[in-house]
């Protein structure tokens, strides 16, 4: 019990860092689901590509970090948009299974491409502002973790403004609630779908870039992060961005606590067990809306 309490702050710090990444993935996932009802299995790969592209921009192209990072995020936006334009946009009336397989195909394609371009090795990225740990009470936090928290917070704030203040954002929310009515109101739904994928691509890439200094990037890194991001989205409630954030942070912290005190081997299973329990007991998640309320 003493160990539990004394290790709590450190677990919390670590958990919030992982959780922030899950939250960013979950948000990207939720945004796409909201406006298209599509489960984007390639979401984790957006993160993987973001990290690897940032590494290439920094080392092969010798860009300074303040250019490489936004560059990688921009690349993510582009990749997301291209993915939608090429594979989703042309479909006429796809079934759920068709869409799931297309996004799975996309994720495999991205992994294959990454393996060809960057090989099977892991690549490092320099931490943004150094690696000297900062002591917050009894816990030690690397500066990069602060960047992770900061970037996630900034993303959430920007998204909030975007969805509540800008016309495009409001249009996206309208689409999420009722696609037919939105289209009748003159909102170009297909354009909205492209935007959501672009946005999610950027968010995913951001997540990848900020975490890479802590975990090293390789072509396989996106899969598990993506899947746990889904767990977070389901925990928080599909369709709710704040749910995605809450779900991500919760899973990050609880998973770390579980891994530290119960079983490190089963730590990866924790997120999925939580997701299953949620699906069985309360499919709409913590903050999601009840089923049947969207046209």
């Amino acid at each position: 019990m003493d160990f539990f309490i004394s290790s709590l702050p450190q677990c919390l710090m670590n958990g919030l860092t992982r959780g922030s990444i899950y939250a960013l993935i979950a948000i990207g996932f939720t945004i796409i689901y909201n406006s298209t009802d599509i489960l984007n299995f390639a979401q984790g790969e957006f993160a993987m590509l973001g990290g690897l592209i940032a590494i290439s921009l920094a080392s092969s192209f010798h860009l300074p970090l303040w250019a490489a990072v936004p560059g990688a995020v921009a690349a993510g936006v582009l990749i997301g948009a291209l993915f939608e334009a090429v594979t989703i946009h042309p479909l006429k009336s796809p079934t759920v299974i068709n869409l799931i397989i297309i996004t799975i195909g996309g994720s495999i394609f991205f992994k294959g491409a990454a393996m060809l371009i960057w090989g099977k090795d892991s690549h490092p990225l320099r931490a943004f502002t150094g690696t000297e740990p900062i002591h917050l009470g009894s816990a030690a936090v690397t500066p990069q973790s602060l960047w992770v928290w900061g970037a996630t917070l900034a993303a959430v704030i920007v998204l909030h403004q975007f969805f509540s203040r800008t016309i495009t954002g409001k249009a996206l929310r309208a689409c999420a609630h009722n696609r037919t009515a939105s289209s009748l109101m003159g909102i170009n739904v297909r354009w909205m779908v492209l935007i959501t994928f672009a946005l999610s691509g950027g968010l995913g890439a951001l997540a990848g870039v900020i975490i890479t200094p802590l975990i090293f990037a390789n072509y396989q890194v996106g899969t598990l992060i993506g899947l746990k991001g889904f767990c977070a989205a389901i925990l928080g409630g599909m369709g709710s961005i704040y749910g995605a954030v809450l779900g991500g942070l919760l899973i990050g912290v609880l998973e770390t606590l579980f891994g530290t005190h119960v079983s490190s081997g089963y730590m990866d299973a924790f997120a999925f067990v939580v997701m299953l329990l949620m699906l069985f007991v309360r499919p709409r998640g913590l903050l999601g809306e009840a089923a049947g309320e969207r046209a």
Binding site: V96, I101, I108, L276, F280
Partner: protein
């Protein structure tokens, strides 16, 4: 397949007979052991695809975790037939387990090591029962939620394979003896194993054909077409979904048993998300709701890489691209394409 009853099934019988003849005759022309081994693996995959096709193509339920049932079958066979497996030691670790239960398990293990058919049967029954239990909460979910739930289950089970080292041998795995039947050991490197596996495939395909052309098969197709209308017409939807889910799990378990005694060493890596995806791909690319589609899908996705070994590095890239392209251009799979071509040739309206 479609058509008034009786006629459709006869077509399937004919096709099955043709395939049986092909499979039996092939070794006369092909003696290269490597090709025969590819065909054996194809046979095992066909069993998996048949089961998954029943769930996805006939009952319309998505399963992204089917590799787990495959693995459970394989590991069950491992546990029940390996002479040195420490099952009782692992069970003994659970303090709540009574002595007699552990002893009974040990005795059972001793029995199945001698009578491996019993091991295979028990594995299938166990996997089928597990599918029923897991299916009750899971199959209440629809669409994406069901996909995520099956995905989660599959991942959790694979992690159990990796972590329970005393039971499964962990990441390095454990060895499996040759399958002993009628007093003989079936060496997987011989023609006997090839015939044994294909015999099982033919039998299971026959069962699947019968199921599809029966009252229950019709009910399944109705469920896939429109669940609510099917229920209002008297079809017990949940019960049927559970039934077919359980059957598909048993098929997967049989495949796992055949695989374990073929590869003679089982480790967790084939039983993960990627393989579940590959299985779903085989079924969908081949054509859901069509037994022959399942076979086509397996054939294509197992044989094609053989020709593309030059492009090994590109395998993942190509696989992903193929998935996307097929889904975009032929959403009903190859069987759907062939079916459409057949109809056009026969002059029917679409």
């Amino acid at each position: 397949m479609r058509g008034p009853k009786g006629r459709g099934m006869k077509k399937d019988y004919v096709a099955l007979a043709a395939i049986t003849a092909l499979v039996c005759g092939l070794p006369l022309f092909v003696s290269n052991i490597y090709y025969l081994s590819v065909l054996t693996i194809i046979a095992i995959h066909i069993i998996l695809a048949l089961g998954l096709n029943l769930v996805m193509g006939y009952a319309g339920q998505i399963s992204l975790g089917h590799a787990a049932f495959y693995g459970i079958g394989a590991y069950m066979s491992l546990i029940l037939t390996s002479p040195r497996h420490e099952l009782t030691a692992w069970l003994g670790e659970f303090s709540w387990m009574p002595e007699f239960a552990v002893a009974a398990a040990g005795a059972f293990q001793h029995f199945t090591a001698q009578h491996m058919i019993a091991a295979a049967a028990f594995a299938a029954a166990f996997t089928g029962a597990l599918a029923l239990i897991v299916g009750i909460p899971t199959l209440k979910l629809k669409g994406h939620y069901l996909a995520m739930a099956t995905l989660g289950l599959g991942i959790i089970i694979q992690i159990v394979f990796i972590e329970e080292i005393a039971l499964t041998g962990g990441p390095t795995g454990l060895s499996v003896p040759y399958f002993r039947i009628l007093g003989r050991d079936l060496d997987p490197n011989t023609l006997s194993y090839y015939y044994a596996v294909w015999l099982v495939v033919i039998a299971l395909t026959l069962l699947a054909i019968h199921l599809v052309h029966s009252r229950l098969g019709r009910a399944l197709r109705a469920i896939r077409a429109d669940e609510t209308a099917a229920a209002a017409s008297g079809v017990p939807v949940m019960r049927m979904k559970l039934m077919v889910f359980s059957i598909s799990a048993m098929y997967a378990s049989v495949a796992g048993t055949l695989y374990a005694h073929y590869i003679t060493h089982v480790n967790p890596s084939p039983f993960g998300f990627m393989f579940s995806v590959k299985l779903v791909t085989m079924v969908v690319v081949g054509g859901m709701g069509s037994i022959w589609g399942a076979l086509l899908g397996v054939g294509l996705l197992d044989v094609l890489p053989q020709f593309l070994t030059v492009f090994e590095d590109y395998e993942m890239l190509i696989f992903g691209a193929v998935l996307i392209i097929v889904m975009m251009t032929a959403p009903r799979g190859l069987a759907g394409l062939l079916d459409a071509a057949w109809r056009r040739a026969a002059g029917e309206r679409k």
